[in-house]
């Protein structure tokens, strides 16, 4: 059985559900929006998932795919407390699932992109290029960095989604004094998004004029990476303890492969064609037995 957790309106999760349903693979959808009958029971032998009064023995679970949302103000205060407790319990249940269960992704591994520069240490160790980076609260240091490189980008340090923007010499940077800010040398080149599912890669070249393609027009084109770069993507995914990753790469005009970030819960749907190859690979991965050694 595969356990899916999140919202039915979440397309990446629902696409996997549809593949499992089409194939007749047993699954259990723990819907965040309708989980009044779901609890995680604490026993002396560990955590046990109980849905509608029925225990779900972990021995019957082959895979777990977690994509929960913070429902915030969408529910009242009492329900928010209950959902918060359940979310924590489900995370701990998935985290403590035995190695025979493929968890996409183990919650502890999913945290690595909460600090991009910290994650970059692993990216660098695997062999991808990482651009010169400054983290600072000093407007003078920020201005000197921008002047040195001529063009820099500013983006969030943490996991909060932010719009990447470009800064050039003489831009106003005094606001950095209030909060550490990340600046990186601008690297001209071609953007790629790579989804890694286990050992399988799905690569798209992104055609865009925008600095941040997510907030500008873009086109996608399936592509293949040089084998050495593909292997680096697999190694990076494994090093971060992930089963599913969305890797942001840029092939620089200087001939080097840069890696910006590894998304640990990628919303891959817009990269998936009508044949849902990524969702299919993920469904197969969830159902395919023990995790790699």
């Amino acid at each position: 059985m595969i356990v899916l957790h999140g919202l039915r309106t979440d397309t990446p999760l629902d696409d996997v559900r549809r593949v499992l349903a089409d194939r007749g693979t047993p699954y259990l959808f723990v819907d965040q929006a309708a989980c009044a009958d779901t609890v995680v029971r604490h026993t002396d032998d560990g955590l046990v998932l109980v849905v509608a009064g029925r225990e779900v023995p972990v021995g019957e679970v082959r895979g777990i795919y977690l994509r929960p949302y913070d429902l915030g103000d969408a529910v009242d205060a009492v329900e928010r407390v209950r959902l918060g407790r359940l979310a924590l319990d489900l995370r701990e249940w998935a985290e403590t699932a035995p190695p025979s269960v493929r968890v996409v992704n183990r919650p502890s591994a999913g945290l690595s992109n909460h600090s991009k520069p910290r994650q970059s240490r692993v990216i660098d160790a695997i062999g991808f290029a990482v651009p010169e980076t400054l983290l600072t609260t000093d407007p003078d240091a920020a201005a000197a960095f921008v002047a040195q490189h001529g063009r820099a980008i500013v983006k969030s340090i943490g996991g909060t989604r932010s719009i990447v923007r470009t800064v050039v010499p003489d831009d106003e940077l005094s606001a950095v004094r209030w909060c550490p800010t990340q600046l990186q040398r601008f690297v001209p080149g071609t953007e790629y998004r790579v989804h890694v599912v286990g050992e399988r890669l799905f690569t798209h070249r992104i055609r865009t004029e925008a600095v941040d393609y997510r907030y500008g027009g873009f086109g996608l084109e399936p592509d293949d990476l040089p084998e050495a770069v593909a292997q680096r993507c697999r190694a990076l995914t494994a090093a971060l303890g992930l089963e599913l990753a969305g890797i942001d790469l840029r092939f620089g005009d200087d001939g080097r492969w840069y890696c910006w970030e590894v998304n640990t819960s990628p919303a891959y749907t817009c990269f998936d064609g009508g044949d849902r190859v990524i969702a299919t690979a993920l469904a197969e991965h969830l159902a395919s037995g023990p995790v790699r050694g």
Partner: protein
């Protein structure tokens, strides 16, 4: 130099530093002052430019940090009263991410290595801690006789709660738990149980509490005993608090 990373709302942290010569308190307020510069990426490997930071409102270079003691799991929006309310969540997340990276660069100089989940150490599920302690869990139930304890090295101190002190057996279990994860400083809530009930682990807290003077004295001694001095650093002298 010893840095104590904590919320400015944590009186235990302020008292820890007040009684400790050479120690400085680093709070989220210091991250809203100009002066922090850390290089990352390829420039960081040259070894020529130590990071610069601010603690207690004054600058330092991070090659002068002998030990960092974190009493902070992450920056909370409530720590950032000087930031416009609508920006506090974002700034708190950014500061936490920044500190997570910086602490990782300090490597062995953190008394407890940060995890991705907490600036103060690992945060495995309670079930994992309980297994390491060889104690049952309270599960979702409220503790009958809760006691909040702080483990410092091989010692266990109660910092909150009423009723009897944790038995020597419970203390041994808690020290075993901390040692098994390589964590010399942590705080936990234990249910000491009743006359017939067994002690149980309720939770390990996201960050340690230094609420009492015996805990603070033990932390100072632990750091002094276990963390090597930097070349040329003077021997610490306790100052009256």
């Amino acid at each position: 130099m010893i840095l104590v990373l904590a919320s400015q709302r944590d009186p235990g942290a302020a008292a820890l530093v007040a009684g400790w010569a050479g120690a400085r308190l680093l709070t989220p307020a210091d991250l809203s002052l100009p002066g922090w510069t850390l290089v990352a990426g390829p420039s960081s490997r040259t070894g020529r430019a130590p990071g610069r930071g601010i603690a207690d409102g004054e600058g330092f270079t991070d090659d002068g940090v002998r030990c960092l003691v974190s009493l902070l799991a992450g920056v909370e929006p409530g720590d950032l009263s000087w930031i416009a309310e609508e920006h506090r969540d974002y700034v708190a997340t950014e500061m936490t991410a920044f500190l997570g990276h910086w602490l990782a660069t300090l490597e062995g100089r953190c008394l407890v290595a940060p995890s991705h989940a907490s600036l103060a150490g690992p945060r495995p599920p309670t079930a994992v801690w309980a297994a390491a302690a060889d104690l049952p869990m309270t599960g979702g139930a409220q503790p009958v006789t809760p006691a909040v304890v702080t483990v410092v090295g091989g010692e266990v101190f109660r910092v909150a709660g009423e009723g009897p002190a944790p038995s020597s057996e419970v203390r041994r279990h808690l020290v075993r738990m901390a040692v098994s994860h390589g964590v010399p400083l942590l705080s936990a809530v234990v249910d000491l149980g009743g006359r017939d009930a067994l002690p149980r682990l309720h939770a390990v807290l996201p960050a340690p509490l230094a609420r009492t003077e015996p805990v603070r004295a033990a932390i100072r001694q632990l750091v002094d005993r276990t963390v090597p001095r930097l070349v040329g650093e003077p021997v610490r002298e306790e100052v009256a608090s």
